[in-house]
C-alpha cells in the first residue's frame, strides 16, 4: 500500500485540553496514607484501578526524598497510574535524588503551580472533578483521555443500595432496577432499562455530550460532565417514565422520550 505523501499526513500534532485528576498528599506518613487509600478503594474499587493521576507532593515537600519516594510507591501500589508529578520543590527534590522511574514533572495552574508550563496544550484543570472542560463539545474528540477501547458495560442484575458500577472508558447499560443508594458511573452514556432510583453520573471524565436514559426516573442525583442535579431539584413533572437527561450549557434538561 502506498499513499502519496502529499495527500495523507502520517501524523499531526495538536493541542488538546484534558481533564486530569490530581492526588494531593497532605500526610506522607505511610500508615495514615495507606488507611486513606484503602478507604477510598473500598468506596470505589473500580474507579481507582489504572486511574491516571498527577501526584501533588507540595504539601509534604519537607518530608525528605526517601519518604516522598515511598509515597510514590504507595500510590502506585494502590492501583493509580501515575502520569505526572506536580512540579515544585518536592518533585525537584525527588528528581535530584534519582529521576529513574519517576513520571515527568508537570506545572499546572492554580494552587501549588509554579512558573514553567510543560504542557503546551494549556492548563489542565485540577482538583474539581465536577468542572468539565467547557471548550469540549465534540463528542468524538472529548471524553476519556486514555481509554481507547470503549465497550459498553452491561449489567443484568439489580444494582442495589451501596453498590457502585463504573463503566470505564465507555457506556453503561443496566437492564435491571437501580435502587436508592446505588451509584452508576460511566465515562460515556448511561442507559437504565428499569427504574432509576439511585445516582447516575454520566461523562464523569468530562464528556458533556453524554446522556442518561432511564425507563423510569426517580433518581437521587443526576450528573453529566460534572454538572449535576439532586433529587430536590428534580420536579414532579420531570419524574416519570422514559426520561432522557441531557446537558445544555450548564444545566441538565430532563425530557420525555
Amino acid at each position: 500500500m502506498s499513499a502519496s505523501p502529499s495527500s495523507v499526513q502520517a501524523m499531526e500534532l495538536k493541542g488538546r485540553m484534558l481533564l486530569v485528576s490530581v492526588l494531593r498528599v497532605h500526610d506522607a506518613e505511610p500508615h495514615n496514607l495507606g488507611n486513606m487509600l484503602a478507604a477510598r478503594r473500598d468506596e470505589a474499587p473500580d474507579l481507582m484501578r489504572d486511574m491516571p493521576i498527577v501526584l501533588d507532593l507540595q504539601p509534604v515537600a519537607d518530608a525528605g526524598d526517601a519518604a516522598l519516594r515511598a509515597v510514590v510507591q504507595q500510590v502506585r501500589a494502590a492501583g493509580f497510574r501515575l502520569i505526572g508529578l506536580q512540579d515544585g520543590e518536592a518533585a525537584q527534590a525527588l528528581e535530584a535524588a534519582d529521576a529513574a522511574g519517576l513520571p515527568p514533572r508537570l506545572a499546572m495552574g492554580g494552587r501549588g503551580g509554579s512558573g514553567e508550563v510543560a504542557l503546551s496544550e494549556g492548563r489542565a484543570r485540577r482538583e474539581d472533578p465536577s468542572a468539565a472542560a467547557p471548550e469540549e463539545r465534540d463528542s468524538a474528540a472529548s471524553g476519556a483521555p486514555v481509554a481507547v477501547h470503549s465497550a459498553t458495560r452491561v449489567v443484568d442484575q439489580p444494582v442495589r443500595s451501596g453498590q457502585q458500577v463504573y463503566a470505564r472508558g465507555g457506556d453503561l447499560l443496566v437492564t435491571a432496577p437501580v435502587s436508592a443508594g446505588a451509584e452508576l458511573l460511566a465515562d460515556g452514556h448511561i442507559t437504565v432499562l428499569g427504574p432509576l432510583r439511585g445516582r447516575a453520573l454520566a461523562g464523569v471524565r468530562g464528556l458533556v455530550t453524554a446522556r442518561i436514559f432511564c425507563r423510569r426516573l426517580e433518581a437521587e442525583l443526576l450528573s453529566i460532565g460534572g454538572h449535576y442535579r439532586i433529587a430536590e431539584d428534580i420536579t414532579e413533572a420531570e419524574r416519570g417514565d422514559n426520561r432522557l437527561v441531557t446537558l445544555a450549557g450548564e444545566s441538565l434538561n430532563i425530557t420525555e422520550s
Binding site: Q157, P158, V159, R160, G162, A176, P177, S179, G181
Partner: protein, 269 residues
C-alpha cells in the same frame, strides 16, 4: 448434603429470629432433618424464641473452638421431631466466628441434616457476613417501611457479591422476600408500603407475607415458634411460606382488609 439457608434483613427487629424459628420448625414438621443456628453471637435470642434457653450447655462458639463437639451442643427440640437448635454464645463477641471454624462446623452439620437455617444478626458486619457466606439461598425478612426495605436492598447487594458461591465463580444466591408485620388496614390508609411497592423496589420473588399479629408476641413470650400456633393468622402464614419454600403453590392469605358486614359498616363496628 444439607441445603443452607440464611435468614437475614440488614435492619434489626424485623423478625429474623421469629422467622428462622418458624421456618425451621415448619421444615422439621414435614419430616426434614433441620438445624437452626443462632449467628447472633453476643446477644442470643433464638434459644428464647425456641423455648430451650434452660437446656443450653454448649454453644456455637464452643463447637468452633473445639471445646465441645456438635452432638453435645445441638439441642433437640422436645415438640417437633427432627429439629435441632445450635444456640449462640452470650459471653463472646462476633469475632469468635472464624471463617475456618464456621466452615468446618457447617460442613460437619451438612452431613447430618437436610436443612440448615442460619439466623443472621442485624447489620452488615462480620456476624451477618459469616451467616450468609456459606448459604445456598437467602430469605430476606423485611417490614413494609422504607428504612427496612432500604436495608434489605443493601443486604441483597452484599449477598450478590460476598458469598462463597459468588467468589468461586457461581451465580449469586437466590434470595426470596418474606414481608413481616404486614397490616392491610395500614396499607390501605397509606401508612405502610404495600406488597407491590416493596416488590417493585426489591425486585425479588415473594416467599410470603406474615400479618402483624398478637400471636407472634404471645409465641415469643411463651418460647414457642409461632408456626406451632396453627389457629393463628401468623402461624398459618408461616406455614404457607414453608410450603412455598418447598415449591408448593399456595395463594397469599391475610393480605386484604377484612370485609365488614353490612351492620358493621352501619354502626362503625
Amino acid at each position: 448434603m444439607a441445603r443452607i439457608v440464611v435468614v437475614t434483613s440488614g435492619k434489626g427487629g424485623v423478625g429474623k429470629t421469629t422467622t428462622s424459628a418458624a421456618i425451621a420448625t415448619g421444615l422439621a414438621q414435614r419430616g426434614h432433618r433441620t438445624a437452626v443456628i443462632d449467628f447472633d453471637v453476643g446477644l442470643r435470642n433464638l434459644d428464647l424464641i425456641m423455648g430451650c434457653e434452660r437446656r443450653v450447655v454448649y454453644d456455637f462458639v464452643n463447637v468452633i473452638n473445639g471445646d465441645a463437639n456438635l452432638k453435645q451442643a445441638l439441642i433437640r427440640d422436645k415438640r417437633v421431631e427432627n429439629l435441632y437448635i445450635l444456640p449462640a454464645s452470650q459471653t463472646r463477641d462476633k469475632e469468635a466466628l472464624t471463617e475456618d471454624g464456621v466452615e468446618r462446623v457447617l460442613g460437619e452439620m451438612a452431613e447430618e441434616f437436610d436443612y440448615i437455617i442460619c439466623d443472621s444478626p442485624a447489620g452488615i458486619e462480620r456476624g451477618a457476613l459469616m451467616a450468609a457466606y456459606h448459604a445456598d439461598e437467602a430469605v430476606v425478612v423485611t417490614n413494609p417501611e422504607v428504612s427496612s426495605v432500604r436495608d434489605s436492598d443493601r443486604i441483597l447487594g452484599i449477598l450478590a457479591s460476598k458469598t462463597r458461591k459468588v467468589e468461586q465463580g457461581g451465580d449469586p444466591m437466590p434470595g426470596r422476600l418474606l414481608l413481616t408485620r404486614y397490616s392491610p388496614e395500614r396499607v390501605e390508609r397509606g401508612e405502610m408500603l404495600s406488597i407491590e411497592d416493596v416488590g417493585d423496589i426489591l425486585a425479588i420473588d415473594l416467599l410470603g407475607v406474615i400479618p402483624e399479629s398478637q400471636a407472634v408476641l404471645n409465641a415469643s413470650n411463651a418460647g414457642q415458634p409461632v408456626i406451632l400456633d396453627a389457629e393463628s393468622d401468623a402461624g398459618q402464614a408461616y406455614d404457607d411460606a414453608v410450603g412455598r419454600f418447598l415449591g408448593e403453590d399456595r395463594p397469599l392469605r391475610f393480605v386484604d382488609v377484612p370485609k365488614r358486614g353490612f351492620f358493621g359498616r352501619l354502626f362503625g363496628g
